[in-house]
Symmetry: C2
Subunit: 155 residues, 2 copies
DNA sequence: TATTGTTATACTCTATAACTATA
DNA sequence: TATAGTTATAGAGTATAACAATA
């Protein structure tokens, strides 16, 4: 979903009540996320799922198909497919589990590092430009808000 | 995509540099948006696109298929399909354009209002619960951050 | 001839169910 | 007998191309 520029918004001013805060946060967070997602889509050729799995493997190190499926909230057959795609692109490789040979450990290749770095750099670029337009006081508010948002997302 | 609870995060503390701020905001906003989206999916039977169109029509009033397709960033045939779904559910209705009879104006029915209200209420409920767990100071930070996030999303 | 919307068709992504292999 | 992953198949959702109606 997308919104045209200069359209009237529901979050023009700081919400005064706690009830209004939930609504204001939901609307503004969802809209900014859509904006960020669109920014990425224009510049990447990997699907959202491929990028998500790359990011997860980058943060956690090697994971099994089942662990990835659980983390990404897809079913195992879907993850099999996604991982196969990453392997075909040379960004990941399968290894049989050393103890239990039923499991498959997925590991990023060295080629993936460059892709991940570039992906993050591109996604940050648009946001960084926008942040420069803010006042130092506004940036300070966001600096304090970021860890709170993160905590909410983990709840 | 989703992340398990208690997992190490990249946004544990307030970022100190402007470069880090963009990255921290991107990660935390995208994760919170996913969390909010999942919260909705569990409680709604309408698809994301159906809800998005309902919300857009609610904000803008009646719109044509083409306008809706443009706003929602889908192709006209897809919007035809989505609108047909909404009409079958009794939430929207087609009207021929009065001047130009090629166009189709889509308008919400009165039944849609209740659905939209309920959808917003449910989505806010989870977030409102989480916000109660924060300190008053943290809520104040979010209260100031919300309009800034909204402004960024419109940029 | 151009534009708005619809229909026809194909492709992608996902899920469930059935299957293979290991434990 | 249970578990990890894969394969087979089907169901959404989307897009492009062709079409119908109107301007």
């Amino acid at each position: 979903m997308s919104y045209a520029k200069g359209m009237p918004t529901e979050v023009a001013r700081a919400p005064r009540t706690d009830a209004g805060l939930a609504s204001a946060m939901r609307v503004s967070v969802m809209r900014l996320a859509r904006r960020l997602r669109n920014e990425r889509d224009a510049s990447e050729d990997l699907t959202a799922n491929h990028l998500a799995v790359l990011g997860t493997l980058s943060r956690h190190g090697a994971l099994t198909i089942g662990e990835l499926a659980s983390l990404e909230k897809v079913q195992p057959p879907s993850m099999t497919r996604i991982v196969t795609g990453l392997c075909e692109k040379g960004l990941a490789q399968r290894e049989p589990g050393s103890d239990d040979r039923r499991i498959v450990v997925v590991r990023l290749t060295s080629a993936a590092d460059a892709v991940i770095q570039e992906s993050r750099r591109r996604k940050d670029a648009w946001l960084a430009r926008q942040l420069k337009e803010l006042t130092p006081a506004e940036r300070q508010i966001l600096r304090e808000a970021a860890p709170i948002l993160e905590r909410l997302s983990q709840a």
